[in-house]
């Protein structure tokens, strides 16, 4: 009697283990290949390139050669997109702005640097990261990545929580603390001249550069790039197209990116 009971328990146990393990073992075997990592199949290297990915090369030397050009780019962008000027840095809204080398590349902590870097006007704007932290932080999907690599915003959905501002490592996002369509103490509107083709924003939403999606859609280049066309200080295009101008520039020039170590894969490249 005792030995029979023992055999019964053994068989029952083995059956249970086989029942639990078999499906997963079969699944792994039938799929043909068991990956060591959880990365997508295909093994090593980057995933295959599909679709467009817009990017921009900023040739900082050209901005030093043409003083005032950087500011023209900023003005052009802010005029086209109805960006308000509140007249103080606390409430400032900026889609593209001029910044010092120390602030744009704080991780480059060389003990000695060329003097020329000090006065260099460096344009900074949204990096349109391939792996954007702001998109992950947004609780309402108000900010998202489009198929052509642009990190865009739908202001209708923004609830003004500012998680994206905390998440963005580049300070590329601004919050509307005040009504951008309002007027200052002297009765001057914050948006000097409204562009009737583009909407404004309302108080309580975050805004940022949209790589001029609305202009690309009708075959125009971004407003800042248009201003810098003659000097070729800004090169814009599809980085996935090997024939595009930007691909050629990236192939032939050494460029640096803002804080690449954090893995955001920015689409902005700087020639210093």
């Amino acid at each position: 009697m005792n030995s029979k009971r023992r055999d019964f328990l053994k068989i029952a146990g083995l059956t249970a283990i086989a029942g639990i393990a078999a499906p997963s073992a079969f699944n792994t075997l039938l799929k043909g290949e068991a990956n060591a990592s959880s990365a997508p199949a295909g093994g090593h290297g980057a995933a295959a390139v599909t679709g467009k990915r817009y990017g921009m090369v900023i040739d900082v030397k050209k901005f030093t050669e043409n003083p005032g050009l950087a500011q023209q780019c900023v003005t052009a962008c802010h005029t086209v997109h109805n960006v308000p000027d509140f007249g103080n840095r606390k409430d400032e809204i900026k889609w593209i702005w001029v910044e010092s080398y120390n602030h744009v590349f704080p991780e480059n902590t060389q003990y000695k640097r060329p003097d020329s870097l000090k006065e260099m006007p460096i344009l900074a704007l949204c990096n349109h990261c391939d792996n954007p932290p702001c998109v992950r932080a947004c609780p309402t999907k108000a900010t998202y990545k489009t198929k052509d690599g642009i990190v865009a915003m739908d202001y209708h959905r923004c609830i003004g929580c500012r998680f994206c501002m905390a998440a963005c490592p580049y300070g590329a996002r601004s919050f509307n603390w005040r009504d951008p369509r309002g007027k200052d103490a002297n009765g001057q509107p914050f948006i000097k001249e409204l562009n009737p083709k583009f909407p404004a924003r309302m108080r309580g939403v975050v805004e940022k550069c949209n790589f001029c999606t609305e202009r690309l859609a009708i075959g125009q280049i971004p407003a800042c790039v248009e201003v810098a066309t003659q000097t070729k200080a800004l090169v814009f295009g599809d980085m996935n197209d090997p024939e595009s101008e930007i691909s050629q520039v990236l192939k032939t020039s050494f460029t640096i990116q803002r804080n690449p170590a954090i893995g955001t894969h920015p689409s902005l490249f700087y020639i210093i």
Partner: protein
């Protein structure tokens, strides 16, 4: 009836007050809103009845399609006229007077859409 000297006049007064809006014709149902239609255009992007009931959904669809899916920024009407799928650059091109078109119905229905907190009205109405 006990205390009818006070109850009956009070009842009459009460009924009078309750029905006062009817006597003074406030909220007259016969005064339906008449939004001013554009003179130069006869055809909208969809049939009138659909636009009347579902223009807000249509605007949301355009927005999501264009912003998120990379959809076309232009569309074609049933008769083949091309239009811009945009409130500011499309709708308002024909319906250029927001006060006479949008506000007429919105006020009647007591809805307050926040379109114009951000979007810009055509110059005439601003």
């Amino acid at each position: 009836m006990y205390g009818k000297g006070r109850i009956i006049p009070a009842l009459i007064l009460f009924l009078g007050l309750m029905t006062a809006p009817m006597w003074f014709k406030s909220g007259d149902v016969s005064k339906l809103p008449k939004p001013e239609k554009p003179k130069d255009y006869t055809e909208c992007v969809a049939p009138t009845q659909f636009m009347r009931t579902a223009h807000m959904q249509l605007l949301n669809e355009w927005r999501d399609d264009i912003l998120r899916e990379g959809g076309s920024r232009t569309g074609k009407t049933a008769n083949g006229t091309e239009y811009v799928r945009s409130l500011q650059n499309g709708c308002m091109k024909c319906h250029s007077d927001k006060k006479k078109f949008c506000d007429d119905c919105h006020n009647y229905a007591s809805v307050k859409p926040y379109c114009w907190d951000c979007h810009l009205q055509p110059k005439e109405a601003m």
